[in-house]
């Protein structure tokens, strides 16, 4: 016999897409008595600032008491070299009961060696997300069971998603030393051909055009390959 599905839902969710249960009272009861939290905004979803030292306890509370038991995403934002606190880690939770997301911002206390506690003991899903954040931003997560690079190779020396890292990349040795010894190859930056071709912010398009960046490439003389 082929197996039957346990349930099949026919009508749309009666709550719709509204965050009907995530209202001001919910926010108040969540923040009440927890001075490590502060309200940030409630635009697309409820967003809360949390101090790093209380993060693990608070996520445990979210999971066990507030039904936010699905950690959907964990990542970081680099606010740039000039920022007082440079890195913030951003966690997104989803509640199957509230049908709603919740976002937590955690500012990393140290700009030079950013480190916050790992939540992978509460949410196993965080394990790989934290490894990726470490890989891309160099933010360490204390008490992480296996904090090593996940997308780049283990010996890679840079953190690519930091703002100062160039889009083309930086020349580094080939990960396989024995191959590099024979072939003499290394990992080269990507040929950008004068790109990226974007006039962002207040810069002018004429300055972003490949021609303006590389004077050897004009209508009269072609760009040498």
């Amino acid at each position: 016999m082929s197996r039957q599905f346990a349930t099949c839902r026919i009508s749309p969710n009666p709550l719709g897409s509204l965050d009907s249960m995530i209202d001001d009272d919910f926010v108040k009861s969540l923040l009440d008595g927890r001075d490590y939290l502060s309200f940030k905004h409630h635009e697309d979803c409820l967003t809360i600032n949390c101090l790093p030292e209380s993060l693990v306890d608070f996520t445990k509370h979210l999971r066990d008491e507030e039904t936010f038991d699905l950690l959907v995403d964990l990542t970081a934002v680099d606010h740039g070299d000039g920022a007082e606190k440079r890195f913030s880690v951003v966690l997104h939770f989803y509640s199957l009961v509230h049908k709603s997301y919740l976002r937590i911002h955690v500012l990393c206390p140290d700009n030079e060696a950013p480190c916050i506690p790992s939540v992978s003991s509460v949410f196993p899903a965080a394990n790989w997300h934290e490894r990726e954040t470490f890989d891309m931003f160099g933010i360490s997560f204390s008490d992480h069971p296996n904090l090593k690079r996940i997308l780049m190779w283990d010996d890679y020396p840079y953190f690519p998603l930091r703002k100062e890292f160039p889009l083309a990349g930086i020349e580094v040795p080939l990960p396989a030393a024995d191959v590099a010894e024979v072939t003499g190859a290394d990992v080269d930056p990507a040929p950008m051909m004068g790109g990226p071709f974007v006039a962002s912010g207040n810069s002018r398009m004429s300055e972003a055009e490949p021609r303006a960046k590389d004077e050897s490439w004009t209508e009269k003389s072609e760009k040498p390959l």
């Binding site: 197996r3 934002v77 997104h92 006039a199």
Partner: protein
């Protein structure tokens, strides 16, 4: 002239670990290039006889730095990169990305645009699941179903080509609309296709669903409990097969999904067989949605008209009116102007919830774009799921998880 020959040993971590190992366990390396791994996934495993005792997935062989690239180009320029995430359902990725940016801009799209997006999303789901089921059969040792599903998928690609100009890398959406309206006579062709598709699905079901060998290989294998599925952040068919009732098309409807009637199949055991059943049923439900969209396709515009600084005006206006020409120039050179802020949006894609976390500081370029790839999260359970299974189950478990490395590694 004499030539020197030097032997190069490509580092094989598995073999090296085996030579150092003192126990009777054997280390085995699968991938990164192996037909089982559906791309470039590498598994480092420790075996006790035929039994797997440890499994460590190694990722990153397809890492292209999409998130870094996104910070260096305008919003519309990034649309082609979304094709290359889950490259088996590029249209659904295009839509998810466009909706994220539009949410931040607060854009309201006309009904026709939303309906077109639902239509292409569901066609992408059918296409992705057809491939997923076909190769899953192949992974379990059944070649023939693949032929049926690929024939149908080929027809879908012809339809995609007529709509977008490309079979594979569609890049169909723009911020604030879609690239072009539906071509004349295209909808009847789609209708003809979805009318004929159930027959092919029936054929596949006849070959697989009650096939003794297939059942033996998939039933009770790779069982993921409800608790584990939630704890590891699984989404999509893999989560639903474990009995968790989460479908963002129902729970957080976007792009007008609330207008269409469809069921959400939920599995009871969470094994490989359940994941297969859920996908089969999802294709049937997608066919229903496609039929409803075609029957109720609204007229009107396929782009947001009031999005002056976001969506480029139609070509004939650019050629005849100065204002539209300038508007087009600004959008092309400086990008769609998106207000500052942050937003997170997840769409129910064929592989699971594809999420985009977007931070904007204003202007035409994202400040930070995080791509929450469902395949990445779905694979993270391997370390827990695989130990205790036989080596021959690896192909079936990987096939049933239906992941795409392009999306996993980004």
């Amino acid at each position: 002239m004499s030539t020197t020959v030097k032997e190069v040993q490509i580092g094989d971590v598995g073999a090296q670990a085996a030579s150092h190992s003192e126990s009777a366990h054997m280390s085995l390396n699968v991938g990164p290039s192996h037909p089982t791994t559906h791309g470039v996934l590498r598994l480092l495993m420790e075996l006790d006889g035929d039994l797997i005792t440890r499994c460590e997935p190694v990722l990153g062989y397809l890492h292209r730095g999409d998130e870094k690239i996104a910070e260096n180009m305008t919003y519309n320029q990034f649309v082609p990169y979304t094709d290359r995430l889950d490259y088996l359902a590029p249209l659904a990725n295009n839509v998810a990305y466009a909706i994220t940016v539009e949410n931040l801009a607060g854009l309201k799209l006309p009904e026709r645009c939303e309906a077109i997006r639902v239509l292409v999303c569901e066609m992408a789901r059918i296409s992705s699941h057809l491939l997923g089921m076909g190769v899953f059969g192949m992974d379990a040792g059944a070649w023939t179903p693949f032929m049926y599903t690929f024939t149908e998928r080929e027809k879908l690609y012809t339809l995609f080509e007529e709509l977008t100009g490309a079979r594979f890398t569609t890049s169909y959406t723009r911020i604030g609309g879609v690239a072009r309206d539906l071509p004349d006579g295209w909808l009847p062709k789609v209708e003809k296709f979805v009318n004929e598709l159930p027959k092919a699905i029936d054929e596949v079901e006849k070959l697989l669903t009650r096939n003794r060998i297939f059942l033996d290989r998939t039933e009770g294998i790779g069982t993921i409990s409800k608790e584990d599925a939630i704890a590891y952040g699984l989404t999509g068919p893999n989560l639903r097969a474990s009995g968790v009732d989460l479908d963002l098309r129902k729970d957080k409807p976007y792009s007008g999904y609330e207008k269409y009637e469809f069921d959400v199949p939920i599995g009871s055991k969470g094994d490989c067989y359940d994941r297969y059943l859920v996908r089969i049923e999802e294709v049937r439900q997608s066919i229903l949605i496609v039929k409803q969209v075609i029957a109720s396709m609204p007229g009107g515009l396929w782009y947001a008209e009031d999005a002056k600084k976001i969506f480029a005006p139609p070509k004939e206006k650019i050629m005849t009116s100065m204002e539209e020409l300038i508007q087009n120039f600004m959008i092309v050179t400086e990008g769609p102007q998106i207000p500052p802020g942050e937003t997170y949006f997840e769409a129910e894609n064929p592989k699971g919830a594809l999420g985009f976390y977007l931070v904007s500081k204003g202007g035409g370029v994202p400040y930070r774009l995080k791509i929450r790839a469902p395949s990445f999260c779905n694979l993270s359970i391997l370390e827990k799921l695989v130990p205790g299974h036989m080596l021959s189950d690896i192909t079936v478990i990987l096939g049933s998880l239906d992941f795409v490395m392009g999306e996993c590694d980004r």
